[in-house]
Symmetry: C2
Subunit: 256 residues, 2 copies
DNA sequence: TTCGATTTGTTCGTATGTATT
DNA sequence: TAATACATACGAACAAATCGA
């Protein structure tokens, strides 16, 4: 029956008690993080990976299953398995949770309001896990729904991960911001964590959102992560919830 | 090799193009909805289900996989597969998303503030998908964190699904409200959908939460679903976000 | 249009490992 | 210790989708 005993190591690294498919998964994730297979591209076929890694095709499928569930990879029968991109409309609402109070999901229109480079503050440092005084880029971006301003994003990223980033890069992009990160910097956002609270917006922001400063707004602090849970973006948002809501619907979006 | 062609029907019902594991999954879900296996109990072993359904054990595992991912079932190696309960602390934070601004996850203390029965309003009817003028029970419940009031829930359920429900039922319960639904009424909440907005709380609610009515609060409209996406509870909540936040962290809680 | 090669999707079966009782 | 139940890994066969010759 050709039962080869499973080696304790697969990559020649430190020994491990983890199952084989986890090791395979880890190697695939590392290859993704290293940019070996780029977003939109197909990764090698399952049978190819099986021979390359010296495991059965079932083990490869098992390893890929979770990456597909986590929207890191996308399978297509008859074609192959592809690195997920942020260019598809479907994936947008996976990271964009603002919907109309009537339940309508609308495509936001983006407008760049500001760009500058400076030193990170203590909040940025802790959220992004970066050294003191790191150089960061700050972007102020407005999202309009139905022609009216609804969401104001203040985005912070490190110039280390996004070298030579500038205003034109943001202004001339096609598609979403995460699509830009992916296509131009090889940074693939695969997960976000958001903390919401209600507060009065600062006067400047209230003005942009067309509300009075005495009106309540939704405030969100978001950290976006790439592979291996490494944080890549810190975003503070204000949302005018007069006509819109934040939708938190765990399993509708994920696989059931 | 004993290759039996797959029948188009498994239960003798209408024909189907769905894969076999989906049909098995559907039958398991139906059995759960019918209360055939109760929360906390073990469902039959995989090998037993395989012979019962006349499919391979691999197909059974495939069918159960998604139910486990959706927290409907819980596998335990060496013991069996169990219907998930709302009595475990782990599962609490799957439905309770309020955390301290310092990130601390605290166990809320519940206090019943009110109970009454009346006719459903239009909002209740549409959210719960019930006929006009249905009889509903309304519960007002306060959640305290660190001894201070933080969350006020106004809960609406139908007396049809929760017969003979009364104030004492809620007051004398042990554990969570969803645990009560499960243990006493066989209603198993497996998914919630929440819509968040920022607003000024009504004076009465602000007073309960120890805030001024001019302060912003987080307002949440939640619909809780049982098996087969059938809505069972409509809940309107107000949250004082002075010291707490709403955490939306898709993949930390789900399987990666 | 047809056909064949390729790739993922489904189902089956078997063997063995590990945890529980 | 033995029996039971889930976990991992392998392999095989066929179905279904895709794509190019």
């Amino acid at each position: 029956m050709n039962l080869i005993p499973r080696p304790d190591t697969l990559a020649g690294g430190q020994p491990s008690a983890a199952p084989l498919y986890r090791e395979v998964q880890l190697r695939i994730t590392r290859a993704l993080a290293a940019g070996e297979w780029k977003p939109g591209e197909a990764i090698p076929s399952e049978s190819r990976l099986a021979t390359d890694f010296g495991v059965s095709i079932g083990t490869i499928r098992r390893a890929i299953d979770e990456l597909v569930a986590g929207r890191i990879l996308v399978r297509q029968q008859g074609r192959g398995t592809f690195v997920a991109t942020h260019t598809e409309d479907r994936t947008l609402f996976y990271f964009f949770h603002v919907v109309g109070k009537d339940g309508s999901q609308e495509f936001p229109v983006s407008e760049l309001l500001g760009f500058r480079k400076e030193r990170a503050g203590p909040d940025d440092e802790s959220q992004l896990g970066i050294p003191r005084g790191s150089r960061v880029a700050r972007v102020r971006n407005l999202l309009k729904l139905g022609g009216r301003p609804v969401v104001l994003d203040d985005i912070t990223v490190t110039t280390e991960r996004f070298p030579r980033i500038d205003e034109a890069t943001f202004r001339n992009r096609e598609g979403t911001i995460y699509g830009l990160y992916q296509a131009r910097y090889g940074v693939n956002v695969v997960r976000i964590s958001e903390r919401l609270s209600a507060a009065h917006p600062p006067a400047e922001i209230a003005s942009i959102l067309g509300m009075r400063s005495s009106q309540p707004a939704l405030h969100i602090r978001r950290v976006a992560y790439s592979y291996n849970d490494s944080p890549v973006e810190y975003r503070r948002s204000w949302i005018n919830t007069s006509d819109h809501e934040y939708l938190s619907d765990l399993w509708k979006t994920a696989a059931r």
